[in-house]
Amino acid sequence: MITGRGLVFASAMAMLAAICVAPLVVLLTAPAWVGRWDAYRSAILDARQIGLLVNSLRIAGSVAVVATAIGGFMGFLLARAPIRARNVVRLGLCVPVLIPTYALALAWIFATSLESFAARLVGLDVIVPLTYSPVGAIIVLAIALYPVPMLATEAAVRRIESRLEEAALLVAPAARVLTRITLPLLWPAIASSALLTFVLALSDYAVPNLLRQRVFTTEVFTAFAALYDSTRAAALALPLLAMALVVAYLIVRRSAGVVDVSRPSSRIGIGFPGIRPLALTAVVCVFGIGAGLPVGTLGIEARSLGAIREALARSGSAIGESLVLASVAATITAAVALVLGHRRARSTRSLAHWADAALIALFAVPGTLIGVGLIELWNRPGLSGVVYGTSAIIVIAYLARFMPVAILIVSAGVRRVSQSTEEAAALSGAGWIRTMRHIVIPQIAGSLVVAWVIVFVLAFGEVGASVLVAPAGHTPYPVQVLTLIANTRPEHVAALALVQTLVVVCALSVASVYLALSPRRHD
């Protein structure tokens, strides 16, 4: 007999499979359907492919190293340094990961242009060659992604049971405890976050596109959008997907002993009261470079409030539509994530590891690949063709990209809720839906809000998939900005990017206020 719970779970799973997995399967099998087996061979042996691989790995690897060095240090400071208004500081330091990467890349272009202050200060011959260079891409992506290892490191530091450090403090000075006890305990979390940063850098499309770097994601776009060669796109997809899978497996394996084993430690371990000035300096510098500098550069480049008003007047409808589409995607995603995140949190350890690996791999799939896969899947005669011609396909693209990360966030929230609270409800006669509504959801409301906001913000800035699937007349705002760059005045583009950034910051602020004021915050 099919229960209500089984039906809901099956529907959510079917949605995940149809939206996230099916486009990739269609994309990867496309050459086989048309007998182009050589595409698979060229995916591995092609000299051009190997060159792309080296370039992509070099940029993504450097980003992972730089972002992890910055993020790891900041995460440690956030956990251990005596910082006032820690939640506000953390939120401020997270701003770069939520600013669309295209806006950061634009700010970089403006900041290193001929007329820029940096060029005048350091010298044209030093700064200008960096604008469209691998170094530029590495800097921009490292700024965009350092919050990932920062949050992971902070969480890992807080999870270290303080007694492990105290036991060492009885025989060794703090510096030795830090290197021999604390850092080895943190290492799995730091390594996992570095791997995640690596795949996120590998899957970014906007930064290499704007900074003219030839990497897999830009080649996929060129192969499909310019050359209409879906088999070439499939060949380019193979190494990316393989890397996403390997990295996801490594992350889950490395995190196995770290992610689930304990709640945050009840006491803080080694404290560093003397490093407050260093911590404050680091926070100011990183916030200044990560958020202040990009927003300030865009503001200066936009020149006046008039330019922003003009941008709003010209693109107001696109902003409105993008906000609606991102909201719809975030709401659907939160609903699916509630069901699947709960199921993942309550599954066996081995199943949970495989589920996490699959979800991380799906999240790491570049937007351009998802875009090509969605076109292959939906651009057909009949009902799918009708859907493909509407803005619903953009929502589907957002779901395909961000549903996995929402499931991971919600499942982390559910894991912090004692299973016995649900069992007590079940023993009292409550059914699954009633238990979810009255017991689970109130306890994980914070995680659901966080998942909603993150998906909303990421969807609002998404370009990799939506640049390919957006139907005529329904171009999302960031895609519109990206296509305007080549033939619009810089101040107009800067104003558009600034508006988008301000919308993101507003959404974050509202969510933060809600979470701070929420009287029933259990998770």
Binding site: E161, A167, A168, L169, L170, V171, A172
Partner: protein
């Protein structure tokens, strides 16, 4: 004769209320004292003050004739106090084998001593706590009783003159608890260290210590 531990009028506030005050205690070298009291009375906090992991609000702590804490000031950091500590939850380092943990303690507490001597001390300590042959195991590869013995080995490998024990047997079954009490007596006989043993069980207190002091809310 110099005391192994002396507490002079220790006072501690917690959450705006007085946890205990005027706690005075003298433990002779090689002596043993058990601190008993109900949950939340501050037994563990007092032990942490002795170790230098927490500051009192008033009072002095003396270890081996040396003042180590004066009122709110930590005069001697924990690692220079020459104490061993067995935590209630053992706090074994999950990323180190038992042998590595013991070596880490020796390298930190006695860096001038040769590696050969470190090795000898590790082997001897493991033998004395009856887990010789388990030095290459990680904590999760040990049974509950073996973990308990590994925690004792780590606390004693550098031969401290004072051992602090925070309800170390609370999670053990009756037989194992009895066995560990015997081991503790054997170790005291072998090394001659003084002990301060925290427990809420009066029967256990009289079994492991020559003197029992009851800690009540507000002080002894």
């Amino acid at each position: 004769m110099t005391s192994a531990l002396r507490l002079d009028a220790i006072r501690k506030m917690q959450g705006g209320r007085e946890l205990f005050s005027d706690v005075t205690l003298d433990v002779a070298a090689g002596g043993s004292v058990a601190l008993v009291g109900a949950s939340g009375v501050g037994k563990t906090t007092l032990l942490r003050i002795v170790a230098g992991l927490e500051r009192p609000d008033a009072g002095d702590v003396w270890i081996a004739g040396r003042r180590v804490t004066q009122s709110r000031s930590i005069l001697v950091p924990p690692h220079q106090r020459g104490i061993g500590f067995v935590f209630q939850d053992l706090a074994l380092w999950p990323h180190m084998t038992v042998g590595q943990s013991l070596t880490f303690v020796l390298e930190s507490a006695a860096p001038a001593v040769s590696r050969l001597e470190h090795r000898r001390l590790v082997d001897e300590t493991l033998r004395l706590v009856h887990i010789d042959g388990l030095g290459d195991r990680y904590p999760h590869q040990l049974s509950g009783g073996e973990q308990q013995r590994a925690a004792f080995a780590r606390a004693l490998v550098h031969r401290p003159p004072l051992l602090l024990l925070d309800e170390p047997f609370s999670s053990l079954d009756f037989d194992l608890r009895h066995e560990m009490r015997t081991t503790l007596r054997e170790l005291r006989g072998a090394f001659g260290f003084a002990t301060v043993f925290v427990t809420h069980d009066r029967e256990e207190a009289s079994a492991v210590a020559a003197r029992t002091i009851a800690l009540t809310f507000g002080g002894p």
